[in-house]
């Protein structure tokens, strides 16, 4: 039974008034170049009780409590003034720990803060006659108000003593186009998976061409990042999602294990300008930060098209930090066509807790498994001639034997300490076991056995097995704010990172239906290790000029046991034992720098430059090779228009160029990636976000790029007619990407004391015609997803529609030779193939939140 305790309310009110009316000042003297700071504000509070057994107070007692408030508004730590009587100090700490705040904001970004609040205990007085009865469990008596708010005690006017804003400097943008997707952006459009969140970032297109258990394909600003080769993806800032030397694609990054409901924000740096960006940050980097801001218990059931069922359970106990939660997801589907069914489950648990001494720890564990059938690619001419249905697979046993299994078990822990002066030190450890077992046939019947040359035509069903056991650690330290000269402030950061993976790779050709192996292509073990270090600085030269940057160095070494190396053909007498073991080591060093000019508070001009790298596929290395990294040079010049600190509107425009020393592209013959030479990109991006009212969110972006291939590999005896020529447009990369997201949430009407809240949202993507090899162009693509929901108290009913136009589109397009025996004589001219995207799909969701 709910009750009203006027005494507690008044005590809290006094504290609130203290907060709101206090002249909150930054602890650090504001310098000319310091960004604007908005202190934390109390959102909900817990009233203190009068300590049981404590003696009667003769006069009001003020206990000052220093509290640390996280970026999520949760109180992470509370320490009462040591001079306070222990019973009152403990009760003040207990109460304040239950408060929730609107977090401190700096430049529109939530940041951690430390404040001190006075909690006043007054002598107990009899309740006023009009006061509602006190609940039985509220005994012992609550702390009484000192006096009516109109005449507060002397200490009630005492301001919050200080506020220290923390973590803000890390959030300083490294490029104009850098974007952080908050929950408003994340939840605007319906999402089928966590990877689809990336579509809301400018210039990003995410495709799923190989079923529900294979990583998405990512396209970003002229890069065909395939399954992650050009995108550094991480979780909670320190757990890498990319895998080194993955058989299915270098930098393979499977995001399917992430549960969208527990992703609090996504930071996307398009380009490589931050010294923290490591391996695979070629087109950019993405970090998923997990957390649940809406606390409570949520059970969400979804059912819809193609017999798709999804069940999500999120447990986020009240009073705990946003990063403390447990979530479970189960999904099953028949798929939108033949051989597309899937089954998956994912569990993520995360716990954040403070330690004495300003330490804060965060632990998370992940378990994931998925198996999906794969319909495979279809020749476009076979679709057009009606030989195969658009959403079908080939009527061939090898085609319908395609599937993938993915598993992941992961644990990560991070410990961080922040000093009052603003210094921050953190260390993090992680370990992950990631399994991948796929059977895919892209080319039908074209392959000959290397082992037994007379074996042919048994189906190009490539079995790929990649098992990765990896662990790593990272250490970072950022100094307190330094002031070497009066007008210059800044800090210096140092970081170390380490990761090592033991990867076993196997690739065979299988003959269905008994999966008999008829050729071996890969049988190798790889030990890959990356040790990285960086130095980063962030300096403000007056309020107008900010300079950030540093340098990063990575040393990678590889130990490869290629058991099929030095292959002995059948016709050659054996004169040695087959196998090729080798080691390689290389160092990649790259500077990164960002110059920010702030001519007016609402205008920021950023020029960014950086060098990044991508590690090589280990099996392509030769003995003693200096690990030839793919190096990228990225430059961006952009302007941010942020009227009123961008709270209601922001506009970003930027020109960018990137040059990559060598690119790699998908080779369907082997189902893996091959080098295609250096590439260059030149483009422009514009991104606007509007929040004209609290209930409306709109975001739109346009990204254009001209991506060209500078020097493709020359013709060889093995490949006399290479698909690429100098200066050609980079295949598969859309020159124009348009994205729009929007949502509106508003009270519709009331039922009793509660409102019925309605919400609509959408996400729209447009991709211009994509160039393909051999002179082809793919069709342009326009997709609209939409959602509508009604929420009443703890119930929410919603409907998500994906591909509302029911467009028939190619999620991915390729051009290569295949033989699916759909004609009398096979074509040997590379032909367009498509992995089709899903048709109109509707999901009905019922969510119960307690």
């Amino acid at each position: 039974m709910l009750s009203f305790d006027w005494k507690r309310t008044l005590v809290a009110a006094i504290a609130l008034v203290s907060l709101v009316r206090s002249p909150v000042l930054a602890q650090e003297t504001p310098d000319a170049g310091a960004p604007s700071v908005q202190p934390p504000r109390v959102q909900t509070h817990v009233s203190p009780s009068y300590p049981a057994g404590a003696g009667e107070l003769a006069e009001p007692l003020v206990v000052r409590v220093a509290i640390v408030i996280g970026e999520d508004g949760v109180v992470r730590d509370a320490v009462a003034d040591s001079e306070a009587p222990p019973a009152f100090a403990a009760e003040a700490e207990r109460a304040v720990r239950g408060w929730r705040f609107i977090p401190a904001m700096q430049d529109g970004v939530a940041v951690a803060a430390q404040i001190r609040v006075p909690v006043t205990f007054a002598p107990r007085v009899a309740p006023a006659p009009s006061a509602p009865p006190r609940a039985a469990e509220e005994s012992p008596p609550a702390a009484a108000p000192t006096t009516p708010a109109a005449s507060p005690p002397p200490d009630a006017e005492e301001p919050v003593l200080d506020v220290t804003v923390r973590g803000s400097r890390v959030q300083n943008p490294r490029a104009a186009s850098e974007v952080t997707l908050d929950r408003a952006a994340i939840t605007a459009a319906p999402r089928e998976s966590a990877a689809n969140l990336l579509s809301s970032a400018p210039g990003v297109y995410v495709a799923r061409g190989e079923g529900d258990a294979v990583a998405h394909e990512i396209y970003l600003r002229g890069f065909n990042a395939e399954h992650g080769q050009d995108m550094e993806l991480s979780l909670n800032g320190f757990v890498p999602i990319n895998q080194m030397s993955h058989l299915h694609g270098q930098g393979y990054a499977d995001m399917n294990y992430l549960i969208p409901e527990v992703i609090e924000s996504v930071r996307i740096v398009e380009g490589v300008y931050d010294p923290r960006q490591g391996d695979f940050a070629v087109a950019g980097s993405v970090n998923f930060d997990l957390g649940v801001r809406d606390r409570g218990y949520q059970l969400r059931s979804s059912f819809g098209s193609f017999n798709t069922f999804r069940q999500v359970l999120v447990v986020a106990p009240e009073g705990e930090a946003d990063a403390t939660f447990a979530a479970f997801q189960f999904r099953s589907s028949d798929g939108f066509g033949r051989n597309r069914g899937s089954l998956s489950g994912s569990a993520i648990a995360s716990y954040e807790f403070p330690f004495p001494g300003r330490f804060q720890a965060r632990l998370h564990v992940v378990a994931y498994g998925a198996r999906a059938s794969i319909a495979g690619v279809l020749r476009r001419e076979d679709i057009e001639s009606g030989r195969v249905g658009f959403y079908d697979s080939y009527d061939d046993p090898s085609a319908n034997a395609q599937s993938a299994l993915a598993t992941r078990a992961q644990v990560g822990v991070s410990i961080e300490r922040r000093t009052e002066a603003g210094a921050r030190t953190s260390i993090a450890l992680w370990m992950a076991l990631v399994g991948f077992h796929a059977r895919e046939n892209f080319t039908g019947y074209t392959q000959y056995s290397r082992t037994m040359p007379t074996w042919a035509g048994r189906g190009d069903l490539h079995e790929q097995i990649n098992n990765d056991v990896g662990f790593g650690a990272s250490f970072q330290h950022r100094t307190k704010r330094l002031r070497p000269w009066a007008a210059v402030t800044g800090d210096v950061s140092f970081g170390l990172s380490f990761r090592t993976s033991h990867v076993t790779e196997t690739q065979n050709l299988l003959e269905v239906p008994r999966n008999q192996t008829w050729d071996q292509r890969v049988d190798a073990s790889v030990q890959a290790t990356d040790v990285g270090a960086f130095v980063d600085t962030d300096w403000n030269f007056t309020r107008y000029v900010h300079l950030r940057g540093g340098v990063r160095a990575d040393m990678l070494h590889f130990d490869v046991d290629d058991r099929l190396g030095n292959f002995i053909p059948q016709f050659r007498p054996e004169s040695y034992v087959q196998g090729y073991r080798r080691t390689a080591l290389g160092v990649a060093v790259g500077p990164r720098a960002t110059l920010e000019i702030v001519p007016t508070p609402m205008l920021r001009v950023l020029a960014s430059y950086g060098q990044g790298f991508r590690s090589p596929q280990a099996r392509q290395l030769e003995e003693g090779e200096r690990a030839p990294f793919a190096r990228v040079h990225a430059f961006e010049l952009g302007v941010r228009f942020l009227p009123n600190e961008g709270k209601r509107f922001s506009l970003t425009t930027a020109f960018y160029t990137t040059a990559l020393s060598y690119d790699i592209a998908f080779d369907p013959e082997e189902g893996s990636l091959t080098r295609i030479g250096p590439t260059t990109r030149l483009g422009f991006v514009a991104h606007a976000i509007a929040r004209p009212w609290d209930w409306l969110y709109l975001s739109t972006s346009v990204t254009t790029v001209r991506a060209t291939l500078d020097a493709p590999p020359p013709a060889t005896a093995e490949n006399p007619s290479p698909a690429y020529v100098d200066g050609q447009l980079l295949p598969y990369v859309p020159p124009v990407v348009v994205r729009a997201d929007g949502s509106a949430t508003h009270k519709l009407f009331g039922i009793g004391d509660d409102d019925v809240i309605g919400r609509v949202g959408f996400g729209f993507s447009f991709l211009s015609s994509r160039p393909l090899p051999y002179g082809d162009f793919g069709a342009p693509l326009a997709l609209l997803d939409a959602t509508v929901s009604l929420r009443y108290r703890f119930l929410e009913l919603s409907c998500d529609a994906f591909n509302l136009f029911d467009s028939r589109y190619a999620a991915s397009e390729y051009s290569f030779v295949s033989n699916w025996q759909t004609s009398t004589h096979p074509s040997l001219v590379p032909a367009r193939h498509v992995a089709v995207g899903a048709p109109l799909s509707v999901m009905f969701n019922l969510a119960v939140t307690l």
């Binding site: 019947y445 074209t446 000959y448 007379t454 042919a456 035509g457 048994r458 013959e669 483009g683 422009f684 254009t704 790029v705 001209r706 060209t708 013709a715 005896a717 093995e718 006399p720 007619s721 698909a723 690429y724 020529v725 200066g727 050609q728 447009l729 295949p731 020159p735 124009v736 211009s768 015609s769 160039p771 393909l772 090899p773 051999y774 002179g775 082809d776 162009f777 290569f816 030779v817 033989n819 025996q821 004609s823 009398t824 004589h825 096979p826 074509s827 040997l828 001219v829 590379p830």
Partner: protein, 246 residues
């Protein structure tokens, strides 16, 4: 505004993507006349049908299945060429991409699919053979009719009857046509008609599988068949000639 959008689209999307697609006609020309002289014999052909296709053009010099997994251009059909038809006959279209061609591989009506257990004749193959010819050989008072059925299958699954036939051309656009020259006279000229005449029969059937003579030498009919096969696959292959304009 619209204009600006189109300008942006043009700037970023214009440009080539490497090779471009080409499609051009493939023609065949056979014997200039059905009557011709071979070593004193007057040959009068009444039928000369050649099975042809599929045909693949490769960028490599040796167009085997290993060295040419991808073709630059192709005629992935099978047809029967009436080599006695006057003038050029159109067979269909070659399609592919622009680029350098250095060799060709093709079948002569009998193909062996990569998934097949044995070679099979195409539906268009004349009487299910690679080459069928009928005619009369006359020298003075000596005269006899002859016919030949020659089968020329690939030797392994996924392979082709003719592989690595050198041919040099750079096809830059579709304003091209390809003419196949079928050298019927040269093929027939490889037959030893004196040897066949020595059989003393009015009608000679040249074919494969004829037993050797008691002295171990080849039967003239087998010899003639082998001569024809050698001419078709080695010494006098079908020739390719590209010309600008159809």
């Amino acid at each position: 505004m619209k204009r600006a959008i189109w300008v942006v689209l043009f700037l970023v999307a214009c440009g080539d993507t490497g090779q471009s697609s080409v499609t051009y006609p493939i023609l065949a020309v056979g014997a200039s006349s059905s009557s011709f002289e071979v070593e004193g014999w007057s040959i009068e052909l009444t039928r000369a049908d050649v099975a042809f296709g599929p045909l693949y053009f490769c960028a490599s010099s040796g167009a085997s299945s290993e060295l040419c997994p991808e073709a630059v251009q192709e005629f992935a059909e099978d047809v029967s060429i009436d080599a006695l038809a006057p003038g050029e006959s159109r067979l269909g279209e070659v399609r592919g991409t622009t680029g350098e061609i250095r060799s060709a591989r093709y079948d002569l009506g009998i193909s062996w699919s990569i998934t097949g257990n044995a070679p099979t004749a195409s539906e268009s193959a004349p009487d299910e053979h690679s080459f069928v010819v009928e005619g009369t050989a006359t020298r003075g008072a000596d005269s006899f009719s002859f016919s030949a059925q020659v089968d020329l299958p690939p030797v392994f699954a996924g392979g082709h009857t003719i592989a690595g036939q050198r041919t040099e051309v750079h096809v830059t656009d579709s304003d091209t046509s390809l003419t196949l020259s079928v050298p019927i006279e040269a093929w027939i000229a490889e037959i030893d008609f004196d040897e066949l005449a020595a059989l003393g029969v009015a009608s000679v059937e040249i074919r494969d599988g004829v037993p050797a003579l008691p002295d171990g030498s080849a039967d003239p009919r087998q010899h003639a068949r082998d001569s024809l096969a050698g001419a078709i696959t080695n010494s006098h292959r079908i020739q390719f000639e590209w010309s600008t304009g159809e």
